[in-house]
Symmetry: D2
Subunit: 349 residues, 4 copies
Amino acid sequence: MKVGIIGASGYVGGELLRILIGHPNAQLSFATSRRYAGEYVYRIHPNLRGLTTLQFEDHKISIQEDCDFVFVALPHGESVKIIPQLAQTGVKIVDLSADFRLKNPEDYNRWYGYTHLHPDLLPKFVYGVPELHHDQIKNSQLVACPGCMAVTAILALAPVVQSGLIENAHIVVDAKIGSSGAGEKPTIATHHAERAGVVRPYKPAGHRHTVEIEQELSLLTGNSVRISLSAHAVGMVRGILCTCHTFLSKGIEIQDLWKMFRKFYSSSPFIRLIRDVKGIHKFPDPKFVIGSNFCDIGFEIDNHAERLVLLSASDNLMKGAAGSAVQCMNIMFGLDETSGLRSPAIHPV
Amino acid sequence: MKVGIIGASGYVGGELLRILIGHPNAQLSFATSRRYAGEYVYRIHPNLRGLTTLQFEDHKISIQEDCDFVFVALPHGESVKIIPQLAQTGVKIVDLSADFRLKNPEDYNRWYGYTHLHPDLLPKFVYGVPELHHDQIKNSQLVACPGCMAVTAILALAPVVQSGLIENAHIVVDAKIGSSGAGEKPTIATHHAERAGVVRPYKPAGHRHTVEIEQELSLLTGNSVRISLSAHAVGMVRGILCTCHTFLSKGIEIQDLWKMFRKFYSSSPFIRLIRDVKGIHKFPDPKFVIGSNFCDIGFEIDNHAERLVLLSASDNLMKGAAGSAVQCMNIMFGLDETSGLRSPAIHPV
Amino acid sequence: MKVGIIGASGYVGGELLRILIGHPNAQLSFATSRRYAGEYVYRIHPNLRGLTTLQFEDHKISIQEDCDFVFVALPHGESVKIIPQLAQTGVKIVDLSADFRLKNPEDYNRWYGYTHLHPDLLPKFVYGVPELHHDQIKNSQLVACPGCMAVTAILALAPVVQSGLIENAHIVVDAKIGSSGAGEKPTIATHHAERAGVVRPYKPAGHRHTVEIEQELSLLTGNSVRISLSAHAVGMVRGILCTCHTFLSKGIEIQDLWKMFRKFYSSSPFIRLIRDVKGIHKFPDPKFVIGSNFCDIGFEIDNHAERLVLLSASDNLMKGAAGSAVQCMNIMFGLDETSGLRSPAIHPV
Amino acid sequence: MKVGIIGASGYVGGELLRILIGHPNAQLSFATSRRYAGEYVYRIHPNLRGLTTLQFEDHKISIQEDCDFVFVALPHGESVKIIPQLAQTGVKIVDLSADFRLKNPEDYNRWYGYTHLHPDLLPKFVYGVPELHHDQIKNSQLVACPGCMAVTAILALAPVVQSGLIENAHIVVDAKIGSSGAGEKPTIATHHAERAGVVRPYKPAGHRHTVEIEQELSLLTGNSVRISLSAHAVGMVRGILCTCHTFLSKGIEIQDLWKMFRKFYSSSPFIRLIRDVKGIHKFPDPKFVIGSNFCDIGFEIDNHAERLVLLSASDNLMKGAAGSAVQCMNIMFGLDETSGLRSPAIHPV
């Protein structure tokens, strides 16, 4: 299978390259970058030096006849300009921007500040969470990969929202994310002396991933779900922890939560349920998924406040982006879902 | 004024020493440590080398007649053994453990797992938050310094709880704290290779500071307040951020919140209200208070979810412990509240 | 091929497990730990959760008949007690301690403070640097894996020492290493609050890796080489940078250094020569090898001081330990040297 | 005394502001910034919020008659354009750029790549290391503050170079510096995801501080001293460690080194000699000087290699820049050298 990447010079692009170089069923066909056209890929992604001699090409690419699959890792607002044309060639596409994630075109006006250029395409895209939409992904030409915080929160919340266990109006998602989530462009906000050691609440309200989470959870429960998302930048480079504070609408025991999650994720190879009584991994922590495609999920009941705390941890560049994208590709081609994605996390790192 | 420290070898003790060495009105009289008796203070607190030749003494100390003030920085359960005797000498005391923070003796059974040895002393202690109890502190012999996360959360929540602006049953405090909060004793949980880069939800429910926050906020409002506290270890050494997710019981505008907070803290020199539209300090972030006694407070209204997000940042060893303790001492002796505490934060660090 | 690990609960043991789980030609047969016997491996190495259900066994193991290979990852002084017996079974062994690295038994008295228990075994061990001793490793039953700083320094220095280019009496190796190099046992020196942000010269002189480097380089040149090694703990978890300051005994041009290094490492798949004029990877930096088995090597001529600076970067747990060990195993079994070791570094992390 | 700062928006400017706000004898008169003219100082230096309401002014300033002292913290090449005019007003000046550090005008061509515009002014500047030039500084109108790595290395080497103890042709300075040393301008090299966790040899040879060190040490010994400096970026924000590898030209005992250093620095209040046998501070480490003006110095004899390792640690923004500058100001005004500079380091941080 021949695979191309449009927009391969960013961190998500680099991670796609890293996975695909080691993927047993994919052959890397091309990687584009407007800025670095002509450069060796390893000068921008130095971890790939010695592993590939691929050079970036310019974006203006006519998809070769023998290319079976394209990842589009362009900024929001750029994908929508290129994908309609690409899609007409019949090539399968996973888009990693937000441009095709939302079902309701008006949500783009409200949350992204622009009128969607191709609302007709929105229904053709499947939201790329295999744990929720495996069969749709399998049968689709077009997949929109979720936002990194969105997928991490959705995976923690889906089983309990579906079961009607919690109050839908008081769901708090307190997200903590590493600096790679801000992308590869230097700014004062990402300048090391300013960014090291922060616990910076950069988006206490109004974060765009809110609407994705609401869309997916509302679909699951049939009712409207309201998400209170606050996003914080914290000190590591990779990783997301979502702490989902929810309030129980009925009582439940820990063992029944275990059963609920085990059942919900019984055929999901990248979900690990974490709840230990000793050691250094009692609850999910992004430290233990770095470099892997796992999303670790855990929970704790707070009887004092009739609260259920759901915890989920992922690598924002893997399960939060490139890993999920390749997982979708595997499914779209009938491969083992885990192909090319079985590397354990690096620990300690 | 002659000042002693009982239990001066830990991080809080070290911070008390650092402040008192530079305090214009205090003279450091003694510092005790069972473990390091006889050692120079600067061998345990190497930042003090060249600034003091004090040596640790053993705990078994009869308070000298000329000692006016004692800080007790012993572990929970240890202070309660020593303070009744100390208090009888008439010396003024600030205790930094949890042993005298709670008004209801039964809360010690429930939250700390032991029956309080001297419940008679509990009413004699003032909870050491000058922003709430300035005059009581001034007139008291005995002050119990609050927990680091407790004081940080209380300062963010007090004005809005008092005003009845929010739902008292859905108050989420999502706390993020640096590694110095775990104390100076090495464990696998604080081992650098395991602790670096974590976002570890070490206490998603049942954290002991919950009860302090509820006690103080219930006092303010007259009604019972229920706190949903989850504590996370994050990657820096110092600092706390509390993200308080609350739900509005009535509408309010940002400018009215400004007024409410300005009024509430009009005579509180260590509260800074933070809300900027540009630059690197739009909301509170512990990075900007490191080494200082400030508690930075900010807020954001989430109209989408009828939520009010309150944010507060402090240095857990300063405003969260030693700084508040010295602030109380200043007040108890009629000094300027800020005496010895005016150093700006170090930035960038 | 069936492979066992004796001493698998430390960081090196965990890394051996991580590699072997993904190794196409090896089957993990057992992993021992005195302390954690009976525990699931993934409770100690949480990155392996979901990837193996292996449990630690106690050290007291009679090597099963069908075990072809054993890694011994015990502390210095422990390997020497167990290996003589193991070796007699005929199983191939790579030892990761220092117990069999040195050729001269007296060096153990001088540098390690003990008299070697089995000096007769020393000549039977090959020093496990495939870049220098490939054929000997291939034909040996017993290999002693080098110290992490030793192998990193040796690989930078070998070509220029062999060529007689530098003064042998003024070779300075200034090594910087991450916290995982200190092992998994918590101490005050590795306590996060004390270890974060250090640049701690923990062994300015007398580091034991000195003698390994001298042994190997002296072998290469035929003359005695004197190494001035100083070891520093720095802030990351993984990685080593060796800055080798040497003084030229004759002039040389950069392009001739390139040729010399390219020739010396022409058949070494894990050596990357790094010297770029732009971008973020101009010289070796451990950040770009994390999780991989590469050793990156670079150089710069300082005409002002007639100095040649050689730079080498490795992941101390990979090329500095477990990676080199598996590389040796591959060679000892006639496999492709890179089998199981082709994963790129994770970047950014 | 009224003090102004020209170029106050960078990290060194911010540190000058932090010190001067708390300085008992100085009154902050103005602070300039071309870029931020009109902005409150605390928007750029958020640690100063609540402590000053000063606003930046534009550079084009006619020094007010009542201004007694000016710090110039402009980039190299900018100071030289403004200082000649400033100096004519008779105001005392400490310049923090490199523009007036070197005595030999030709060194600017060689090391900085430009022809000095005012070589006539060079002899009028004293090199601002009070530990070497106290009396000259006292009597001078013009002082050039040293480079951060230069002063840190000079202070470690000065006593042994002066005494003729070491070989002058084999002096290696291996410097490790935090990210604040790169200034406040974001680039890909300082982007958090790229900068976190590095050990980056950014200038293995040819670093400009080389010539400052040689100038000062040659002055001390009367002979030409050749410095082999390599500079590395490491993971913390603040701090420098210089590891100076030198080779003994004659034997010496540790206790004689102690005496030599004690004597040399007998009247230097900011030099601490560090050599402990236990605890966490056996040798200098920048971690223990953060926020203070100390330069910690230590040493170790390597008998094996006839090497003497000298170690020095400083805060690059304090003793390495703003702290030294204020120390010089104090001396130039006959104040206690330590005025405004007595704050201990913050630890742990």
